[in-house]
Symmetry: C2
């Protein structure tokens, strides 16, 4: 099974090394990891169009998207990763994910933005920025969380803050283990 | 042509009113607007699973996704909206978008996070959070920006900050006009 390894760690200086370590861990579970920076660029640095096309080709080649949905420069996941999760989900790929921030989106939102104190409604909890945050008990935006659930998986989430969330691969490996377990259960019909 | 109207304005208290105004503007250009909150829920408030399924059904019904990619509680677009853009793009929908924040992602990133002062590399501009920001001259993450370009469109972007970016529909209407123009040009073969 091939896994497209989505996540904002592509923005690290040592992104290729992280990709190499992720691919090694994948191999340990019998998976093939496809990392965005695996595409070989001969000569000049790639254009944004070339990176876009290469990433989409890797997702199409994959059987699943395993995404790092740790909040990125915000209280929520990286929108580039979210795009890739949506792209893969539409094509019938399994969506698996992990998140190095503990708790629910609503708790992060209230802590970062502040609640108005007005009562929650069907629209969610009113925040100080004039918009609501949804209150479904989910780790992030419902479109991301429900794509996982529709894939028969749960997000692998940290119990407490992770020191170096884009290099620490503990949760990544736990997500691999969950995927391998789910696959075995499917195969054995359990 | 049916347009799925994606964006974080669903989190406004008056989201339904914004949806109604957006649909009216769509009709003025000969389009049918499909707004996430249009789905009728009889009885109890919908679950996150029901909202997820309803939104995906509306995207599948649409010919295009017209997304509000204005930065949402961050320097970048809402990840729920980004998921929907990726989902629609994978299904061959046209992706159109507008952004009420001026300038490039890298300028917002440097202003919000700070540059390290180290020189830019192929990985982008090194920021104070230990990660880079891509430097492709784009308004947001390349996956979002290139999905638009692949649809033959450019983002409709504000020239300066917009006061009430999730209620002001000036850019939304400009995006409708661009879509209508693009459609005419396709039909007449220009």
């Amino acid at each position: 099974m091939k896994l497209y390894l989505a996540g904002p760690e592509v923005f690290l200086a040592d992104a290729r090394e992280i990709g190499r370590r992720k691919a090694e861990l994948c191999a340990g579970y019998g998976f093939t990891g496809l990392f965005p920076l695996d595409t070989e660029w001969h000569g000049a640095a790639p254009t944004s169009r070339a990176i876009f096309a290469a990433n989409l080709a890797l997702i199409r080649e994959a059987d699943a998207v395993l995404a790092n949905l740790t909040p990125f420069r915000s209280i929520s996941a990286d929108p580039g990763t979210a795009f890739e999760v949506g792209y893969g989900f539409a094509l019938g790929k399994i969506v698996a994910a992990y998140c190095a921030a503990p708790g629910e989106l609503k708790h992060r939102a209230v802590a970062a933005i502040g609640a108005t104190g007005a009562p929650a409604t069907d629209a969610g909890i009113p925040l100080a920025d004039g918009l609501h945050v949804e209150d479904f008990g989910l780790f992030d935006n419902l479109m991301l969380a429900e794509a996982l659930i529709a894939s028969g998986l749960q997000v692998v989430q940290a119990q407490q803050e992770v020191d170096d969330p884009f290099r620490d691969l503990t949760l990544f490996e736990a997500a691999l283990a969950a995927l391998a377990r789910g696959r075995r259960e499917t195969i054995t019909g359990r």
